[in-house]
């Protein structure tokens, strides 16, 4: 069981790495344009990248275009909107 899992994991991670590498090398990946702005020098994405282990590049790649916004505090602050506060009609302990 243990052993099977490890082998499986190796394959899974391998596949992920390949996928990630492929993404990395496609410099023109349209995903990078999501959110319509290139990551700025001060974005936390870059900042974290500099100090963190090298495999953050793979994390970034797996993050596709999504991280351009979701890892950028300024951008999520600009885009995230508070939902309508849920109507609280219920009373008493439930």
């Amino acid at each position: 069981m243990q052993r099977r899992f490890r082998v499986w994991l190796l394959i899974a991670v391998g596949a992920l790495l390949l996928g990630a590498a492929a993404l990395l090398y496609s410099a023109t990946s349209p995903a990078a344009a999501a959110c319509n702005t290139a990551p700025s020098a001060t974005s936390p994405v870059r900042g974290a990248h500099q100090g963190a282990p090298a495999d953050l590049a793979l994390v970034q790649a797996a993050g596709e275009g999504c991280l351009n916004c979701h890892a950028d505090q300024e951008k999520v602050k600009a885009l995230a909107v508070e939902e309508e506060p849920a109507e609280s009609l219920s009373e008493g302990p439930g």
Binding site: L17, V45, L67, A80, E82, E87
Partner: protein, 407 residues
């Protein structure tokens, strides 16, 4: 729990998530959506908000054992509600009850994400730790976000005048100190359960206190009673919430809501309604559950057609354990003290029948001659005995709930 800002709920913190194994998996492999989009709206098209709640959840491929048993756990099936409802009803009403549940119970079930990744929807969602997969669910932001009224109030000591649980005050134990991964994932003893009190006690007090109970404990009250006379909570828990007349309904705009007509804090020892080899006790604390024969009348007539097939006073395990309690101060605090037993006069007339008859206490244990009785002067309260230190703050443990000490 201070509410999260809208942006905090969705901000991915690469300082934490960056070193998480799952960060090597593409967002879209779990969430769907369009990775090539250039604006938020298109990127989010077809988005799966909670990938761990869909039947083909991506978690299964790597965490198969947990996934398969969790799918069958009470947190996912909510079978406990079905058991409690259907037994009080009859088959011709099941459809109407399903409809009611689809309005009122849809968001209660707990997904992997609700315990490990983001706060439950009932408190507005939001990532726990920048999308890191948190191994130990933080108590205040997951468990008590859902178990918010009853268990939380008891455990944290939020019911007025009732002290919080000794395991929290004295030992700083979080829910997961007792409720293990195995139980939460519905594995082992917890597997395939149809109700929370099915099978053996899980967890059991004995599992941690074996050497402090029984004849060798040196504690007179432990030594004098047979092990099947009283549950531990019968002597060690304080008053708890009881409710009556809960009604559920919808507004004109289909917003579901409920109201509880009355709730009060009280302590009652009743006869054990689910006595079995696993739970052999003659007497246990019993709680009035928030159900009423007309609770669901907004969804149909007489839906609880067999209302008293299950007792309305049910087996309870309150989460406010103390060493000394009002009922165990002396032998005579309990023997001969009718006030703490669920005698017929304490049960409303309409409910004085059916399964409640197995709970109602007819003769209370007598006060034997020579038994010590409570001092006429007020004995020390547990609070004075143990003090109630809140402990240093530790946002990780409390899950940012500064008031967790309950004092």
């Amino acid at each position: 729990m201070p509410p999260l800002e809208a942006w905090e709920k969705v901000w991915i913190n690469l300082d934490t998530y960056g070193s998480d194994f799952h960060a090597y998996i593409k967002c879209t492999a779990c969430h769907g959506g369009d990775p090539d989009a250039t604006d938020m709206e298109t990127a989010h098209q077809g988005l799966i908000l909670d990938p761990s709640s869909v039947p083909l959840s991506p978690c299964k491929s790597c965490h198969e054992e947990i996934f398969v048993s969790a799918a069958d756990s009470l947190h996912n099936t909510l079978a406990g509600y079905d058991t409690a409802l259907y037994e009080r009803s009859s088959p011709e009403h099941y459809q109407a009850l399903e409809t009611m549940q689809s309005y009122h119970c849809n968001s209660c079930h707990a997904t992997c994400g609700d315990c490990h990744i983001s706060q439950p929807n009932s408190v507005g969602g939001g990532l726990l730790d920048g999308h890191a997969f948190v191994k130990t669910p933080p108590m205040s932001r997951t468990c008590t976000a859902c178990h918010g009224s009853r268990v939380k109030n008891e455990y944290f000591g939020l019911n007025e005048g009732v002290l919080g649980d000794v395991h929290l005050r004295q030992a700083r134990m979080a829910c997961t100190a007792c409720h293990t991964a195995e139980e939460m994932h519905g594995m082992g003893a917890a597997s395939g359960s149809a109700h929370r009190y099915d099978g053996a006690e899980n967890p059991s007090c004995e599992s941690c206190h074996a050497d402090q109970i029984g004849p060798q404990s040196g504690i007179p009250q432990h030594m004098v009673h047979k092990p099947d006379t009283l549950s531990c909570q019968a002597c060690h828990s304080l008053s708890y919430t009881n409710c009556t007349n809960c009604h559920v309904d919808r507004t004109e705009d289909d917003v579901p809501f409920y109201s509880v007509e009355a709730h009060w804090v009280g302590f009652y020892l009743g006869r054990n309604p689910i006595q079995s080899e696993d739970r052999p006790y003659k007497y246990v604390p019993v709680r009035h559950v928030p159900i009423d024969i007309n609770s669901f009348s907004a969804y149909g007539e007489n839906l609880l057609s067999n209302f008293l097939t299950r007792p309305t006073w049910t087996y309870a395990t309150p989460h406010n354990i103390q060493r000394i309690t009002p009922q165990n101060q002396t032998c005579g605090s309990c023997h001969g003290n009718e006030a703490i037993f669920l005698t017929a006069d304490k049960v409303s007339e309409t409910e004085r029948g059916g399964a409640n008859l197995n709970v109602i206490v007819e003769t209370i244990p007598p006060l034997f001659p020579g038994m010590p009785t409570p001092e006429p002067t007020q004995p020390p309260t547990p609070e004075e005995e143990t003090g109630g230190e809140a402990g240093e703050s530790d946002a990780d443990f409390w899950g940012s709930d500064g008031a967790a000490g309950g004092e």
